[in-house]
């Protein structure tokens, strides 16, 4: 396998922009990534796209690339729940690593405000037993959060903390949907959605897109001296839930992270910055241990000690995360990679993690009766 490098990244402003289609948003992000890379778009040899829940057609990447004069190359659209974007970047990583292609692009885009899902709680597919009974993503995470309180000693304020932190971080990110710092009280006193999760512990429905250009070392050296390497990408899928597993441990993501660390020789203690799925505030808390940036049973204390704040030992979601930057579903799995690349290049602006050399991007999603989640997800390790 060859080393794979991040040559260019781009994203749109995240927010509510119903005047743009998914294709429009994808084009904006792709154009930004091409400009960031400083390449002629016709150099691109392969392209992946993704959209997840919007109502547009099924040819996102073809539409986006044709607007840049790129046609007649291999193009594939990916659909994989909240893991759509990270799945698409994973496929491109494999193409470059294997030597099949030397340079390619991935674009994740979503217009959620124009989707038929807009304003509803995301739920499993029709005919899924738990879905028929009324499970929703907030309910499913609500049950994890309740165990965090009753079994693991978290307080309601602990559950709100990632939301406090990420809203504070988003104030420093020009692309963020929400730029307003929130107090613990404001978060806990907001409308209850599914106990113990309140509205301000839920990510918003967001429009936006992100794009990444990956390439071989030879190509990267022609265009940049700021080499950021995507050392390893590891995808996982859900597993049967029998016998009853500990839903607080996120063991599938832990397995993906373990594999990524083993394949790269990177020790978890070397990770300087993490961007990850925080659709609901409590999700961060059990992910810290799963990603090995602290010990599982010390996650709550480490969080209270500020380990994951900007300026802390290993900042998590310096961008503002899904909670405050926003969560255009298919874009988010690409966007975590764009953010880590910017952080490692030292180009993240006001929310820069000083001196970051090793970064981790994670995204996950999906729900199905009889399975322990996530249904799709991945972990990627990057270095400079």
């Amino acid at each position: 396998m060859r080393k794979v490098y991040v040559l260019g990244v781009g994203q749109t402003h995240f927010g509510k922009t119903p005047q743009y289609t998914t294709y429009d948003l994808g084009f904006m992000a792709a154009k930004a990534a091409v400009q960031d890379a400083g390449i002629d778009p016709r150099k691109i040899q392969v392209a992946y796209g993704g959209h997840c829940i919007d109502n547009s057609g099924a040819v996102t990447i073809q539409n986006v690339m044709s607007r840049m004069g790129v046609t007649n190359i291999e193009m594939t659209n990916v659909f994989n729940a909240c893991g759509t974007g990270i799945t698409a970047t994973h496929l491109l990583w494999k193409d470059i690593a294997s030597g099949a292609y030397d340079i390619g692009i991935v674009v994740g885009a979503e217009s959620m405000t124009t989707s038929s899902w807009y304003g509803k709680l995301l739920a499993p597919a029709k005919g899924d037993l738990n879905g028929v009974l009324g499970v929703s993503m907030p309910a499913s995470v609500g049950m994890v959060a309740q165990r965090l309180i009753d079994v693991h000693g978290a307080t309601p304020a602990d559950l709100a903390y990632p939301s406090v932190k990420n809203h504070k971080n988003a104030c420093l990110n020009p692309y963020a949907m929400f730029k307003k710092a929130l107090t613990t009280e404001e978060i806990l006193n907001s409308k209850m959605i599914s106990t113990p999760i309140t509205l301000l512990q839920c990510c918003p429905a967001t429009d936006g897109a992100a794009a990444v250009i990956l390439c071989s070392e030879e190509v990267a050296r022609q265009y940049t001296t700021k080499l950021v390497c995507l050392e390893h990408s590891q995808l996982i899928t859900g597993d049967y839930d029998y016998p009853g597993r500990n839903i607080v441990s996120d063991e599938l993501i832990a397995r993906a992270a373990d594999t990524a660390y083993r394949k790269t020789g990177i020790d978890p203690s070397e990770v300087n910055v993490v961007e990850m799925h925080d659709a609901f505030s409590p999700e961060e808390i059990y992910a810290y241990g799963s990603l090995k940036i602290c010990k599982d049973d010390e996650a709550i204390q480490c969080m209270r000690d500020g380990w994951f704040d900007l300026g802390g030992r290993c900042p998590v979601n310096p961008s503002g995360g899904l909670l405050a930057l926003g969560h255009p579903i298919a874009a988010s799995g690409v966007r975590v990679l764009t953010e880590i690349a910017l952080q490692l290049r030292g180009d993240a602006g006001e929310h820069q993690v000083q001196g970051a050399k090793v970064g981790l991007a994670q995204m996950k999603g999906g729900y199905q009766t009889g399975m322990v989640g996530p249904m799709s997800g991945g972990v990627q390790l990057l270095t400079r």
Binding site: V132, G134, T195, P243, G244
Partner: protein
């Protein structure tokens, strides 16, 4: 069974009593709910229907404030671990001011959950079993 059920094949009536139906692998003994055509443990296709225990333990719970199914909101849901090893998601049946508790014992109550085309639809809820001697 002639009655409309929330999902085909999950509830069976015998001698006037309802049972929750899972699938038990005849080869390795693993039980799944709802039943799957192939055993998720050993991939044998020799899976037979089996009646599940009517009592289990509350693994976790949440109260959802907006309607997410045909059930009225707010609605308390729980994961219940059955002795057979299956974990099921269920709406709860709570008395006024009753608190949920992880680890408490809960029992299935077969009941109509909603109507479709004017016909009642059979499903189930679980209710927490009160400890003996506990004040109501």
């Amino acid at each position: 069974m002639e009655r409309k059920v929330i999902l085909d094949g999950i509830i069976e009536e015998r001698d006037g009593e309802y049972f929750l139906v899972g699938g038990k692998c005849k080869k390795c003994g693993r039980v799944s709910y709802p039943s799957k055509p192939m055993c998720v443990g050993c991939f044998s296709e020799d899976v037979e229907p089996c009646y599940l225990s009517k009592r289990g333990v509350v693994y976790s719970y949440t109260t959802t404030m907006r309607p997410t199914s045909k059930l009225e909101a707010p609605c308390t849901f729980a994961y219940i671990d059955l002795p057979e090893g299956a974990r099921l998601f269920t709406p709860m049946m709570l008395e006024a001011d009753e608190k949920m508790k992880i680890g408490s014992e809960a029992e299935i109550v077969f009941c109509d959950l909603w109507e479709e085309d004017g016909e009642p639809v059979l499903g189930y809820r679980f209710k927490q079993v009160k400890e003996e001697g506990a004040e109501v």
